[in-house]
């Protein structure tokens, strides 16, 4: 049944979809075929035969140490590059010495270094894999075809220790010989043959080996279950940072010793000495990646790698400093604060695996207990009926997922937070229904004696509060991810202020109920959270949210007034209207009824009523300035919260001034140019007024 195909006709398979088409590769097309860009070697063995990775690295012992240091430094840069989002095959495992470790067993320094590096890589991959939230960052764990699991790697520390000990002794010997002015070296212990340089090379090597040792300890300690190793990890972090500092100091010596002609001379060099390392080939592993088109990999400069590890260690240190108290609000605030410094995949994975292990908080506290603690119901902890209640189980699951989501990169995080809104909203609705079914209608949380009903009502308020917290985070992350254009700020701030108002409402209800529980207990229990009896009726967390409400509402009204009076910040489009854009941005919130009865028409109505005169009258920005002093008092011992208060203060002040100018000049003045910049706070813009 052969049919002649005419020019331009083709056979089309039914299930040959776009995915199949995109997955197809054209052989020898350099954009698609990973194998086409070659160094010329068809295999590692061929490269080795050609002398690319000699063992020892040189017969001249001084040169051997120099080259070893270059390999170590380049591997360090590769490791940082890998962490930043590339494959192992194109970074760390471009090292032929690492690919064929059996060859270097005679080279004590390189052997011990490579073994511990490999063991550490394994551990880190394990942590990231366990977290299982690296969907878009899955290049990190790809290790097909790489010799990652070596025999004897569990002994890597003792191997390293003995090498370190030897070099340490040698360094002491150098220093004492320098003092006694002896000129000869004890041959069997020295690193290399030039006595003048021995001390410099010993130091350079020692700090690098020690960095590896301490870093390995950091990783091992942080992996200990239930956070048992965190304090020890902090000590090793301090040591790592000290060794990094020594590594930087060694650069001057190494540069002075290296051959000027072989130095790259620019800032992009991947070694301290500036020389290109031997023993690496970037394309030998390309076939391991062959299903995917080639990705450009630029190995980080050595100085950038140092900076990466410094940041990584600081982020890990912050995690290690976590007091492991099972107060959920504190945990949520901690993660939100932690994410502000934009931590990379590795520290995020460590945080997540610390927080959620074996389905428990810190691997220790059942989430149902965490929830009962959040409701200030200590009697309920351990109560089997509570633990097995279907809503509590579901809420526990939602909290687990929430913690995991919050530890991911913000782009992925926002999408998942948005999707989770439906689950949270559903459970709230179900709780509400169940309450009505069981107990009929009551409005007063406090009046009731029935314990079961009280607990149910509190659960409802608690789940609603978290729903709004997630919604608010979803909205503000949009600013961090640059998802909104200026013509959309008006509606976004409007929606934000509505959500913040509901969040405050639920938070206050929750606190009232908690305080009532404490009152009933008849004692003032030690409360980890800041919202104790003392702080009613306006605990500091609510006051801070009130600032957010005022900022959002102020900005929204200002933008609405400007749109009306100066026709700016509008974006007419031939294909749709503002209504469609509203529906899209807030689709997930609308579907989950967060809040109820809020629609585009609610927004239009509010915007229609915004006039410059009203914006001046309500003076949102000035109101904030009244709240801030008392908040500063409450947050006196919390530097991060104080920092944000200062930012809010700046935003309020700048906007207050801008508002006055606009009002004075007149919003409809054609010479007036108003733009909104995020110069002081990442989520709240400042109006910048210019006259053209």
């Amino acid at each position: 049944m052969l049919v002649d195909l005419q020019d331009g006709e083709l056979v089309h398979g039914e299930n040959f979809s776009l995915f199949a088409a995109m997955s197809a590769l054209e052989i020898m097309d350099p954009k698609m075929d990973s194998g086409i860009e070659r160094s010329g070697y068809y295999s590692i063995d061929e490269a080795i035969e050609d002398g690319i990775a000699p063992v020892p690295l040189s017969l001249d012992r001084t040169l051997d140490i120099q080259r070893t240091l270059d390999v170590i430094d380049h591997l360090f840069s590769c490791e940082a590059t890998w962490h930043k989002g590339h494959t192992l095959a194109q970074t760390v495992f471009t090292c032929i010495y690492l690919m064929k470790m059996e060859r270097i067993s005679s080279h004590a320094v390189l052997n011990s270094f490579c073994r511990i590096l490999r063991a550490t890589c394994n551990s880190v991959i394990s942590v990231v894999s366990t977290a299982r939230t690296h969907e878009e960052e899955d290049l990190f764990t790809m290790s097909f075809g790489l010799p990652l699991n070596g025999e004897g790697d569990d002994k890597c520390l003792s191997v390293l220790n003995s090498v370190e000990e030897t070099i340490s002794r040698q360094l002491r010997a150098c220093k004492s010989q320098a003092l006694s002015k002896k000129k000869t070296l004890e041959e069997f212990e020295s690193l290399q043959d030039n006595p003048e340089l021995e001390e410099g090379y010993c130091r350079a090597l020692l700090c690098r080996l020690r960095f590896r040792k301490h870093f390995h300890h950091v990783v091992t300690c942080m992996r200990k279950p239930q956070g048992r190793g965190l304090d020890l990890a902090r000590k090793h972090v301090t040591s790592c940072l000290a060794e990094l500092s020594s590594m930087l100091k060694s650069q001057e010596f190494l540069k002075s010793q290296s051959d000027i002609t072989s130095q790259k001379g620019d800032e992009s060099c991947t070694t301290a000495s500036g020389c290109r390392p031997i023993g690496f080939d970037v394309s030998l592993n390309s076939r391991l990646l062959s299903p995917a088109p080639p990705r450009a990999v630029q190995i980080l400069a050595w100085s950038d790698a140092i900076r990466y590890f410094e940041k990584l260690l600081h982020d890990l240190d912050i995690i290690c400093a976590l007091s492991l108290d099972p107060v959920l609000e504190n945990v949520l605030h901690f993660i939100a604060q932690f994410q502000k410094s934009v931590p990379d995949l590795v520290p995020r994975a460590f945080l997540q695996t610390l927080l959620v292990q074996d389905g428990k908080l810190y691997g220790r506290d059942l989430f149902c207990d965490v929830i009962s603690r959040a409701l200030s119901l200590p009697d309920i902890i351990g109560d089997k009926e509570f633990q097995s209640n279907e809503f509590v189980v579901q809420l526990g699951q939602l909290v687990t997922n929430l913690l995991k989501i919050l530890c991911t990169n913000t782009a992925w995080q926002r999408r998942k937070l948005g999707k989770s809104l439906q689950d949270w909203s559903t459970i709230s609705i179900q709780l509400e229904l169940a309450l009505k079914r069981e107990f009929g209608e009551t409005r007063n949380v406090l009046a009731d004696e029935n314990m079961c009903m009280r607990v149910s009502k509190q659960l409802l308020v608690w789940s609603q509060e978290h729903t709004y917290w997630i919604a608010s985070r979803f909205l503000i992350l949009g600013f961090e991810l640059d998802l909104y254009s200026p013509s959309e700020y008006c509606m976004v701030y409007w929606y934000m202020h509505v959500v913040f108002i509901k969040l405050i409402e639920k938070m206050q209800l929750r606190i009232l109920a908690s305080n009532e529980n404490s009152r009933r207990k008849g004692k003032k229990k030690k409360d980890h959270s800041k919202d104790s009896v003392r702080d009613t009726p306006f605990p500091s967390s609510c006051l801070l949210l009130q600032c957010y409400v005022l900022l959002s509402e102020g900005l929204s009204m200002l933008l609405a007034a400007l749109r009306k009076e100066s026709k700016s910040f509008q974006s007419p489009s031939i294909f749709n209207t503002e209504q469609e854009r509203f529906m899209q941005h807030f689709d997930l919130l609308q579907k989950a009824q967060i809040p109820e009865c809020i629609t585009y028409y609610s927004f239009k109505e509010a915007a229609a009523q915004a006039h410059m005169a009203d914006v001046m009258k309500y003076n949102f920005f000035k109101e904030i300035q009244k709240i801030i002093p008392s908040l500063k008092g409450s947050f006196a011992s919390e530097p991060e919260k104080l920092a944000e208060l200062r930012q809010i203060e700046q935003v309020a002040e700048h906007n207050r001034i801008a508002l006055n100018i606009i009002n004075h000049v007149g919003a409809s003045d054609p010479k007036l140019r108003v733009s909104f910049e995020f110069t002081h706070h990442p989520h709240f813009a400042v109006a910048v007024v210019k006259r053209s």
Binding site: A21, D29, R414, S485, I574, F575, Q584, Q593, Y601
Partner: protein, 234 residues
């Protein structure tokens, strides 16, 4: 997927022809003879690699959604342009190009831009997707990309699409401004989406729905007291 357009510094859209009598024509995919033109434009300007299968997938299933831009020497006098107005001129050139349906050759002119799209069901919605958009560098700044995209979107709209989507690099200010003006929002950010490690925005345009007259909540009345037992949301 990807777009190569001018940086949006001064988006002046000039719809008339440039000096020298060059004429811009927009042609939809007419057959095999157009395929190498599309491929060479995209291969040259865009960093992401596409196989021949990918191109054929688009142009064979949705030829009406692949458009090419031809720049050729005008045979009509300039005065005629001014008299007829651009709209009529375009109609005339469409007609002229339509009946010829040949590849551009050296006499006809040069292919300076293209857009490649598809449409289909996606999770219950009929959706258009803009896969590739290219305008050669020397010809940017004239509104050609906007025109290409606008035309493609119109075809999608008329074919019943409810929405249109695409991805663009977060650094591609020109593309982001272009689509923003047409009503697209930045729906999502995709971390390290491109092979070069750059993030992308998923851009989406939602067409107005004909049935969306009244606010559904207004029709339900004010039911704020929680008695939603028979609400459609439960």
């Amino acid at each position: 997927m990807s777009a190569a357009v001018m940086q949006a510094t001064a988006p002046v859209e000039r719809r008339d022809s440039s000096s020298g009598g060059a004429e811009i024509a927009y042609v939809s995919y007419g057959g095999e003879q157009h395929l190498p033109l599309v491929m060479s434009l995209v291969d040259a300007e865009l960093s992401e690699p596409y196989s021949i299968f990918t191109y054929r997938y688009f142009v064979y299933l949705w030829p009406q959604l692949t458009l090419l831009v031809r720049l050729s020497l005008c045979t009509l006098p300039l005065t005629l342009l001014k008299v007829c107005g651009f709209g009529i001129f375009l109609m005339v050139s469409w007609f002229v190009v339509g009946i010829r349906r040949k590849a551009f050759d050296a006499n006809d002119g040069k292919c300076v831009g293209t857009v490649v799209c598809k449409m289909g069901e996606h999770r219950g919605a009929f959706r258009g997707y803009i896969a590739m958009l290219v305008v050669l560098k020397p010809y940017r700044g004239r509104g050609i990309a906007t025109e290409l995209v606008t035309r493609a979107i119109r075809v999608m709209m008329e074919s019943g699409c409810e929405e249109v989507t695409l991805e663009a690099e977060v650094t591609n200010k020109g593309a982001l401004a272009l689509y923003g003006r047409l009503g697209f929002i930045r729906a999502k950010r995709l971390y390290r989406y491109y092979l070069n490690g750059v993030d992308a925005f998923r851009l989406k345009l939602l067409f107005p729905r004909p049935d969306l007259g009244l606010d559904p909540m207004m029709m339900l009345g004010d039911e704020r007291d929680g008695q939603h037992m028979d609400s459609p949301y439960l």
